[in-house]
């Protein structure tokens, strides 16, 4: 029983970390209606830049700030050269543009910083700690706390500030928001910068967990089922979905694994997403859309 609970909780904690990645998607989807496949490479780019600055002796917060500035600059460039020309494009077109973006980010990251694996030390040691009789990872607990505070922060920003109001207005109806004078391009840049910030935090967390290297961008493949289950539009929803996916995946790997084979966690989350979708075709917390002729 104790083992079962440990698997469950460890999975749930990982799931929160997947959700951390997924939050970036949600931010951009709500602001630009775009499914930003480049989020994964943005995470890689952010983590690589940060870790290389730190390895060259730059202090933590300076490196953090510098990386953030780079991401904001990227957000400007993306808004100007990709999103604005494609503003009339279909969903597939925009998605493919972000796919192209992800190739650009990946290539640039590795040209600038190389293909080595880097260790990222956030000062949190990863030893097992006993919590309520279960042995859990201290790092995972810290990461969950980070994700939690990030969600609270974002909720405050979107809920209580004028900026947040603009973001929500743009998400609800871009044309109406334009007509009352909200600067669409500015809001887009801010949304993408926020997503960049989230990418940086996610990059730090995942980089510390599994090392900063090329496959970091593949973490987006774990965030996708979380997004699909949670719905593309709800931050709280992806946290819940993250817990579901993480725990489910771990349990499936341990308990289903012996019967149907190794490596179940590669596809389990997607089948789970599919099952949920059949019940709720727009995700657990996603917005239901109405179509008319």
């Amino acid at each position: 029983m104790q083992f079962f609970l440990e698997v469950l909780v460890a999975g749930a904690l990982s799931g929160v970390m997947y959700a951390l990645v997924a939050i970036g998607f949600v931010l951009i989807y709500r602001a630009s209606g775009v499914f930003n496949f480049a989020q994964g490479s943005m995470i890689l780019f952010a983590a690589l830049t940060f870790v290389n600055l730190v390895e060259r002796g730059v202090p933590f917060w300076l490196a953090f700030g510098a990386t953030l500035l780079l991401l904001i600059a990227a957000a400007f460039a993306i808004e100007r050269f990709v999103l604005r020309p494609l503003s009339n494009g279909s969903v597939i077109t925009l998605f493919l543009a972000t796919l192209g973006l992800s190739y650009i980010f990946e290539g640039l990251s590795q040209i600038a910083w190389g293909a080595q694996v880097h260790a990222l030390d956030l000062g949190i040691s990863d030893d097992p700690v006993p919590v309520a009789g279960l042995s859990l990872s201290s790092f995972d607990i810290a990461a969950t706390a980070t994700a939690g505070s990030l969600v609270v922060l974002l909720a405050l920003v979107t809920g209580k500030t004028n900026l947040g109001l603009s973001l929500r207005a743009v998400a609800a109806d871009p044309l109406a928001a334009l007509s009352i004078g909200i600067r669409l391009d500015r809001v887009t840049v801010i949304a993408w910068s926020l997503a960049g910030f989230v990418a940086l935090v996610a990059g730090l967390v995942w980089g510390a967990r599994s090392g900063v290297q090329f496959s970091l961008s593949l973490i987006v493949l774990k965030a996708l089922p979380v997004l699909i289950i949670g719905g593309f539009t709800s931050i709280g929803g992806v946290i819940v979905a993250g817990v579901l996916v993480g725990a489910g995946e771990n349990l499936a790997a341990i308990y289903l694994g012996p019967t149907i084979g190794n490596g179940v966690e590669g596809w389990f989350a997607y089948i789970l997403a599919l099952v949920f979708l059949m019940a709720r075709p727009t995700g657990l917390f996603g917005q239901r859309t109405w179509a008319r002729i």
Binding site: T93, E106, G107, I111, W267, L274, L277, M278, P281
Partner: protein
């Protein structure tokens, strides 16, 4: 004569028309010119993959370009086709290579319908859950259960030598000939299918599914048929990939990157266009080769290969975005505008309006 099911009847060749000349011309060129040049590298590493990717693109185009159902799992259906063909050819007596390939296509079509079932309930971008599930589940299953690769320790299947009707085609020119034949026939069949009421039903589903339903078009059947035909073509493309191109395949060769590659083929070539698949495939295959040659020519032997490789990624990504911005209807529209008389491989009302809306 007993009547055939509608889609099958629609797919068989009809009376020749003037428009049929253009594809004939294309096939004739493809059948003669490369043999005249006759370089092994041209056959084995350029033309064959272009043809196979065009076929795969055609399959995905039917599903995404014509029927509007976004799929990110094309490579999984290629994998099913490849492994099904291998096993049928190996285990079922009487199935020589070509029948095995066709049978492999049908197996893949069956799985296509299976993974297409969610499309009856789920719309828009969320549908990628189903095809992504296929994309991750299928290679796992194929490498997990040794039966699929006939007990090979590494999960890699090796294609038997290519002989057809007693004649040994196990050389680059022969493989090209087989691939050309299969792809030409299937393209013709697909083209006729798209021309028929089935194809028009698909386009109705893509453009305005509610109105289509109101007009009495059976949505569910149209969608599942699109999945079936698409997976059939993808399955055959996968079998060709294993048998006439690489010679060995492992399930990991049909991963998400391959699915994206096929998606690029149809986007760059032009959604909802047949000739676009060939253009897109040529672009996708030749661009990395061209970039590495240009890179080598500019920087010479002092060029760091890692830098070159990453620069290729950046250029590829930038070109994708450039194309999407400059010509969202793809290379086929570019070709149309450049030539004085359109080749008329596609009828004007078939290419979708600029910026295909995929039912979101």
């Amino acid at each position: 004569m007993a009547s055939l099911p509608a889609p099958l009847a629609a797919a068989l060749p009809r009376t020749p028309r003037i428009r049929a000349l253009a594809p004939v011309l294309a096939v004739a060129t493809a059948a003669i010119v490369p043999f005249a040049i006759g370089a092994d590298y041209l056959f084995g590493a350029v033309l064959v993959p272009i043809l196979i990717l065009s076929l795969a693109g055609l399959g995905l185009n039917i599903l995404t370009g014509y029927a509007g159902q976004l799929s990110l799992g094309s490579a999984a259906f290629m994998a099913i086709g490849a492994f099904a063909t291998y096993n049928i050819h190996l285990r079922v007596p009487g199935f020589t290579l070509l029948p095995a390939i066709v049978a492999g296509g049908f197996v893949s079509a069956g799985f296509g319908v299976l993974f297409g079932l969610p499309s009856l309930r789920v719309k828009g971008f969320y549908l990628i859950a189903s095809t992504l599930a296929a994309q991750f589940f299928v290679p796992w299953a194929l490498s997990q259960y040794g039966w699929f690769s006939n007990g090979s320790t590494s999960g890699v299947i090796t294609a038997p030598p290519l002989t057809l009707g007693g004649c040994d085609l196990d050389n680059p020119a022969g493989r090209y000939a087989v691939t050309l034949g299969v792809v030409a026939v299937l393209t013709l069949l697909a083209r006729n299918l798209i021309d028929s009421p089935t194809g028009r039903a698909w386009m109705a589903v893509r453009d305005m599914d509610l109105a289509a339903a109101a007009l009495g078009i059976p949505l569910g059947r149209a969608k599942l048929l699109a999945f079936a035909v698409s997976s059939f073509l993808l399955g055959i493309a996968g079998a060709l990939w294993a048998f006439t191109y690489l010679g060995t395949v492992e399930p990991a060769g049909f991963d998400l990157d391959r699915s994206f590659q096929i998606l690029f083929v149809i986007i760059l070539g032009g959604l909802g266009s047949i000739r676009g698949n060939f253009l897109g495939a040529a672009f996708v295959v030749l661009l990395p080769v061209a970039l590495s040659m240009i890179g080598g020519a500019i920087a010479g032997p002092s060029l760091d290969p890692a830098l070159l490789e990453n620069a290729q990624k950046v250029v590829f990504g930038a070109l994708i975005i450039f194309f999407l911005v400059a010509e969202p209807d793809g290379l086929t529209r570019l070709l149309d505008r450049a030539l004085p008389y359109p080749l008329e491989l596609d009828r004007p009302d078939e290419t979708p309006p600029a910026g295909v809306a995929a039912n979101v």
